[in-house]
């Protein structure tokens, strides 16, 4: 088994193509970690503020520049702008080169409403302003039964990491099944199986898939650590963090990586949640990988492999979107989301989502893990003979034998 694993890993990571891909990966990470500098270099506008213009002095007086920014706008000159506001007899006229999407329309409505109120208040007595202020302000207190497990930022970050791992592992699961097909179609398997049993070969392929994920994660992680260290030495990551803050992913007062770590408050509970989430994800992906490897043993050509892996990817993508649609405390506390967190295969995303959003009792975690492990064990036990039949082409051998004998009888 050791030789099979070593050979497969060598063919995956010590080839020219693989080395080029690692360099490419380094380049991508470098670009991401230095995105602010690259955007400055190429004068790219990554700011999410909508550029707008107006030559109405009233608007500029009543709405200071900061307020425009707060509403997600950036005031620029009329010549440069593709979006402009004017005051007309009936209200406001917005002219644009391109159709305006609903989100921008909503933002425009918000800022113009504020402007309209200010304009009205400006013309009337203070008491009218007080009345409106009283009329608009209501006090609402939320009394919720289920508290949120982690802060929104932490949830977002962990879910991003988990989904990245999810898609990366899916790719490696497909690579493993492609390897089986290559060995089968090149007849190499027939030779290999005269040295090792089909069970050993089957298990080695699953291990190779897992080790590949770990090795790739370590390589990518290593690159990220080096680049982040370099960025930290350069400007403590300030430029990058400010850019991220523009996208509202973190507060704008975080100006260093140390500050970000302090803000995230990575405590024991966060780490435990992350580990459990990854555990469920790994169990699910192992199940997907096992099914793909078994299915690939029945495949005759690489083209056929694509027709199996394609629908599988679509299914996994659908599951990802289903998880996103159910990703709220209410939906994961009862109903479909709650139920699917116990169903093997679905639990690889639904249980981590629950763990991130709400406290889950130990019994529920254990029950879900038990179901996932049981189904995996069943697939492994019942899949082995199917794999054996598939890799040895027993059906093909039978078909050919019958065909030749029929031909001989005819002759």
């Amino acid at each position: 088994m050791k030789q099979l694993i070593q050979f497969s890993l060598k063919r995956r990571f010590l080839t020219k193509t693989s080395l080029v891909l690692q360099v490419l990966m380094f380049g991508i990470l470098f670009s991401v970690i230095n995105l602010d500098r690259i955007s400055n270099l190429f004068k790219l506008n990554l700011d999410r503020n909508i550029q707008i213009s107006t030559d109405e002095s009233t608007m500029k007086q009543l709405l200071p520049l900061e307020l425009w920014n707060t509403y997600g706008f950036e005031l620029i000159s009329v010549e440069q702008s593709k979006l402009g506001i004017k005051i007309n007899d009936t209200g406001y006229l917005i002219s644009s080169e391109y159709p305006i999407d609903l989100l921008i329309q909503a933002k425009l409505q918000q800022i113009l409403l504020t402007l309209h109120q200010r304009e009205y208040l400006n013309e009337h007595h203070e008491s009218v302003g007080e009345m409106i202020s009283y009329y608009e302000n209501i006090n609402i207190t939320y009394d919720v039964q289920h508290s949120v497990q982690l802060s929104q930022t932490k949830q977002n970050m962990i879910f991003m990491v988990i989904t990245s791992i999810y898609f990366m592992m899916l790719n490696f699961a497909a690579v493993t099944s492609n390897e089986v097909i290559l060995e089968k179609t090149s007849n190499l398997l027939e030779i290999i199986l005269t040295s090792v049993s089909t069970s050993t070969h089957f298990i080695s392929k699953l291990i190779v898939g897992w080790l590949s994920i770990l090795i790739q994660a370590m390589i990518t992680g290593g690159f990220a650590v080096i680049l982040l260290w370099q960025r930290n030495n350069s400007d403590l990551g300030k430029g990058l963090l400010q850019l991220i803050a523009h996208f509202s992913l973190i507060p704008s007062d975080i100006v260093s990586f140390h500050g970000l770590i302090a803000y995230l408050e990575i405590d024991k509970q966060t780490i435990v949640t992350f580990i459990f989430g990854c555990g469920f994800l790994l169990l699910g992906i192992l199940l997907v990988q096992t099914v793909l490897v078994i299915a690939s043993s029945r495949v005759k050509t690489m083209e056929e492999a694509g027709s199996i892996q394609g629908p599988c990817y679509i299914l996994l993508l659908l599951m990802y979107y289903l998880t996103l649609s159910q990703n709220s405390v209410a939906k994961l506390s009862s109903g479909l989301g709650y139920l699917l967190s116990f169903v093997p295969f679905f639990s690889m995303l639904f249980m981590p989502a629950r763990l991130l959003l709400q406290p889950v009792i130990t019994e529920e975690i254990l029950l879900s893990a038990f179901f996932a492990v049981s189904v995996l064990a069943i697939v492994l036990v019942f899949g082995r003979p199917i794999y054996q039949q598939g890799v040895l082409n027993e059906k093909k051998a039978k078909r050919e034998l019958v065909k030749f004998r029929t031909n001989v009888d005819k002759v």
């Binding site: 030789q3 050979f7 030779i191 039978k398 034998l401 004998r405 001989v408």
Partner: protein, 292 residues
């Protein structure tokens, strides 16, 4: 020693091998013959442990065939089983390591086999860049890399030129002298006649003939008369005899030695005959006699 005892293998309702019994000893080169679909590959796969018999026993040195016997076997499949993007050396090292060999032992085996098969120049080339004949040599090296005791070769001579066929034959003879048991299938019966010591003939999964080749030839009693003539020698040949063209000669197979002598006598009186000789029959005629 390999022993098949009443081995049966079915693919569903199709009987791939029926009640097959035979023994293979050291120093033997056993030719496995039969039409396509006769069960040759199934027999090989059973021996290699890739398939399990439905009934009967396969014994290796008296023990039931199991995973521990894997390293005793070397296998060269009919179709190429090499990764075309790998270098020859890398591929052979991989096969050697799969058989549990040390790096240095593998290298010395590669060097020895490469010398014997005259392929030393190609060891650092990728397999895809080699000619079909050279790929065949690498495939044979892969089968022999761990110095196996039992060597199974499925159509090893297909696609080889005459010089390489001779090279392979010499290798087989050498291995046989070293005490190895070789099983090979081929449809090139003339070549097989030169080096096979035993024969197994399969027909629709049934073993219709097996044993020492010389003994089988003697038992059949048939003889061959080879004629090289310009005259009309056909008058001397009975309807039942098998007449076959072999280059510029004619090969006539007769039922027994007496008939052969009589035919030889008659043909020798024909002044147009340039060459005349009597031989034992070959594998082809032997198989023809079994309708295999």
């Amino acid at each position: 020693m390999i022993e098949f005892k009443n081995v049966c293998k079915n693919y569903g309702k199709t009987k791939a091998l029926k009640d097959c019994s035979w023994m293979g000893m050291s120093h033997e080169i056993i030719g496995v013959c039969g039409q396509n679909g006769s069960g040759k590959t199934t027999l090989f796969r059973l021996l290699l442990g890739l398939l399990q018999p439905d009934s009967g026993e396969i014994r290796i040195n008296g023990e039931i065939r199991s995973a521990k016997h894997h390293s005793l076997f070397g296998y060269m499949p009919e179709q190429r089983s090499l990764l075309s993007d790998l270098k020859v050396n890398e591929q052979l090292h991989y096969f050697g390591k799969l058989k549990g060999m040390e790096h240095s032992t593998i290298q010395s085996q590669i060097d020895r086999l490469a010398d014997e098969l005259e392929i030393h120049h190609a060891l650092n080339n990728t397999i895809g860049s080699l000619s079909k004949g050279n790929q065949q040599k690498i495939q044979l090296m892969a089968a022999l890399i761990h110095d196996p005791h039992y060597i199974i070769l499925d159509e090893p001579l297909t696609g080889l030129d005459y010089a390489n066929v001779k090279l392979f034959q010499d290798q087989f003879t050498k291995l046989s002298k070293a005490g190895k048991t070789i099983l090979l299938s081929s449809h090139q019966y003339d070549y097989m006649d030169d080096f096979c010591t035993s024969l197994i003939v399969l027909k629709k999964g049934e073993m219709v003939l097996s044993g020492n080749l010389d003994q089988l030839k003697d038992l059949s009693g048939k003889c061959c008369v080879t004629v090289n003539s310009d005259s009309c020698w056909m008058d001397h040949v009975k309807e039942a005899d098998i007449v076959e063209e072999c280059g510029n000669k004619i090969k006539i197979t007769v039922e027994n030695r007496t008939q052969a002598k009589r035919l030889l006598n008659m043909l020798s009186k024909d002044s147009g005959i340039k060459e005349l000789e009597m031989n034992r029959i070959g594998i082809k005629e032997l198989i023809r006699g079994t309708n295999g």
